[in-house]
Amino acid sequence: MIEVYEKLNEIFREVFDNPTLIVNPGTTADDIEEWDSFSHINLIMMIEIKFGIEFKQKEVMRFKNVGDMAESIQSKIKF
């Protein structure tokens, strides 16, 4: 799981163009000013590309924070 967070952190930095950004399981869109519904699509697309996975729309809607994302990614990597 640590690897997932490390990779996620890199993705967040690239998507939000902020090399100092640090995310943790509790990070939400309220913590990152640039994280809105438009940039969320970029974020999801980037995660899919970098992890080689695909999300279903319903899954994406259920993500409340970075922890939810990481768990979903982890489950997809496993299978």
């Binding site: 690239e14 998507v15 163009d17 902020n18 100092t20 939400t28 869109a29 309220d30 000013e33 640039e34 994280w35 809105d36 519904s37 438009f38 940039s39 699509i41 970029n42 697309m45 980037m46 899919e48 590309i49």
Partner: protein, 546 residues
């Protein structure tokens, strides 16, 4: 006690918007009244009274005077929604400097265009955004100092701590005489071509803002008002700062992102009476399960108003059925400064209509600048002279003059009027894209896309979208030997998002061999739109030959 809004406009030197928003409220005895009730994302609350707002904004004004800001100097904020932004905004106006609030999602290029065009002198920002601003600072010679809200000590002679400056600034301030023509606020807006235009308003604009606040939005003394717009846009300033504060009305500010449940909690818990929001937000609410709404008691809510994009009749039907309320659509633009055409309580709502003009002559003109009969579509124009009319586009005098070439103000919108005086929006007369209520210029996006090595040509249009009204669609042709991949798509998306803003990010890319242009090389966006929607492409005789 009634706050007689007409009285404040009788004293010629009393037009200072910031004085009317804070000091005047204290003079009326409303100092202890809550001006802002902040709801933070963690649901914590903060009340700011008019007296506190007066003190903080006086300190901000003195802070700016100490930094040698003088009348007419442009002073900007680039911050997420937070209390200090609002005090600082009023502080700017109190010394007759000019305030501009930048949308906090802007990228470097969007920032540079605006700060550079206006010759901004001072910028208020935060630590998180400082890196972005510093990366373009060398290209902004007029930007003397940056004030940072969340550093405790001065970083250098030019990067200063807001808290430190505030602590050493005096509470006492004499507001200079402010005649109605004194420049007050700049808002930037996008056009079909060129860079964004700086729309300059004057302190007189408060007349229209207050009158429409009372008579269209129907806010009465004692009401709780919530305007959900960001102060980076005209609605968030005219109706999220100026109108409610200058009327002594308590307003809600929420600094979190959209969340249906939280929004309804706010409406319920804060007993909101008048709610001013946007069609995209309402359409997002419509996607929620109706059981969500049943658990909230919105009985204090009297009226819902909407602005930013055309309001679909289905939204009105939804609100009637689920919230048991009408939604009143209102129409205005950055240039108009205040509501010009609206539906309002007491008037029959015709779903899909913009409503009727308020204290303005609105007219539909044809290509010969002649008024057209009812139900015939034409250019929506306004008779100039309303109090909140913009006075210029910064550094673009000829563009400003063109806007009034017919003798009327050209809104750029196409519409028609029915036999009963209701106006009906048809579409834009130019290529400007209205996505979720934000106007985006295709030229800026095309320019950003062309900066990437892989892109040979780009043409950007707004395409119909059920949620956002219009979405940004980019037609691109790729350079030789370049293939379209998801990795390239995300590269393009991030480039636009980080250069301009996330709002400008194309939601769809269409790869073509060539971008259609006319013989003089102008991109035929009309043709791209027709391709996208499958409509008749019309006359293509001017199309550039192969």
């Amino acid at each position: 006690m009634l706050n007689d809004y007409a009285k404040i406009f009788t004293q010629a030197e009393n037009y200072n918007i910031a004085y009317l928003c804070s000091g005047y409220q204290c003079d009326l005895g409303f100092g202890s009244r809550v001006a802002f009730r902040w709801v933070f994302p963690d649901r914590s609350l903060l009340n700011i009274t008019f007296a506190e707002l007066e003190e903080d904004s006086n300190r901000c004004a003195n802070m700016l005077l100490d930094l040698n800001v003088i009348k007419g100097d442009p002073v900007f904020t680039f911050l997420p929604k937070q209390p200090s932004l609002y005090s600082f905004f009023l502080g700017i106006l109190k010394i007759n400097a000019i305030a501009c609030v930048l949308f906090s999602n802007f990228g470097e290029e969007a920032l540079m265009d605006r700060l550079g065009d206006s010759k901004a002198k001072i910028l208020l920002t935060n630590k998180g955004f400082l890196r972005k601003v510093k990366s373009i600072w060398d290209s902004l010679p007029e930007l003397e100092k940056i004030i940072v809200v969340d550093i405790e000590e001065q970083e250098s002679e030019r990067v200063l701590s807001y808290q430190k400056l505030l602590g050493s600034s005096s509470l006492n301030l004499t507001i200079p005489p402010t005649v109605p023509d004194t420049p007050s606020v700049i808002h930037y807006t996008s056009g079909s071509t060129g860079k964004p235009k700086g729309v300059l308003h004057v302190h007189r604009s408060i007349i229209s803002q207050v009158k429409t606040f009372r008579e269209i939005l129907s806010v009465e003394d004692g009401d709780i008002f919530w305007c959900t717009a960001d102060p980076g846009w005209v609605t968030g300033v005219s109706y999220g700062i100026i109108a409610p504060l200058s009327q002594g009305i308590t307003q809600i500010q929420y600094s979190g992102t959209f969340n249906a449940e939280i929004w309804f909690e706010i409406l319920q818990n804060e007993k909101v009476n008048i709610w001013y929001t946007a069609p995209t937000a309402l359409r997002m609410l419509m996607q929620e399960d109706t059981s969500l709404f049943a658990k909230f008691d919105l009985s204090p809510l009297k009226f819902i108003f909407s602005v930013g994009e055309p309001l679909n009749p289905s939204v009105i039907d939804w609100a009637r059925s689920i919230l048991h309320k009408d939604v009143y659509d209102t129409w205005f633009q950055t240039e108009t400064g205040a509501i010009m055409i609206a539906n309002r309580p007491g008037m029959e709502v015709r779903p899909g209509s913009m409503g009727k003009p308020y204290e303005i002559t609105a007219i539909i003109l044809d290509e010969q600048n002649l008024p057209v009969p009812p139900r015939q579509q034409g250019r929506l124009c306004l008779e100039p002279g309303w109090p909140s009319m913009f006075i210029c586009y910064l550094n673009k005098e000829s563009v400003y003059r063109q806007k009034f070439a017919s003798g009327y103000y050209e809104t750029g919108d196409l519409a028609y009027k029915d036999e009963n005086g209701y106006f009906w929006f048809f579409g834009r007369g130019d290529d400007v894209i209205n996505t979720s209520g934000h106007l985006v210029g295709p030229f800026e996006i095309e320019s950003a896309l062309l900066e990437l090595d892989e892109v040979a040509e780009a043409g950007v249009i707004g395409a119909p979208d059920e949620l956002m009204y219009e979405k940004v669609v980019a037609y691109i042709s790729l350079k030789q030997d370049i293939s379209w991949t998801r990795s390239l798509e995300i590269k393009l998306r991030l480039h636009v998002s980080n250069k301009l803003s996330s709002i400008a990010t194309p939601q769809e890319f269409v790869i073509v061999e060539r971008i259609p242009k006319n013989k003089s090389g102008k991109i035929l966006r009309r043709l791209l739109k027709a391709w996208y929607t499958g409509e008749d492409v019309g006359d293509v005789s001017t199309l550039e030959s192969e």
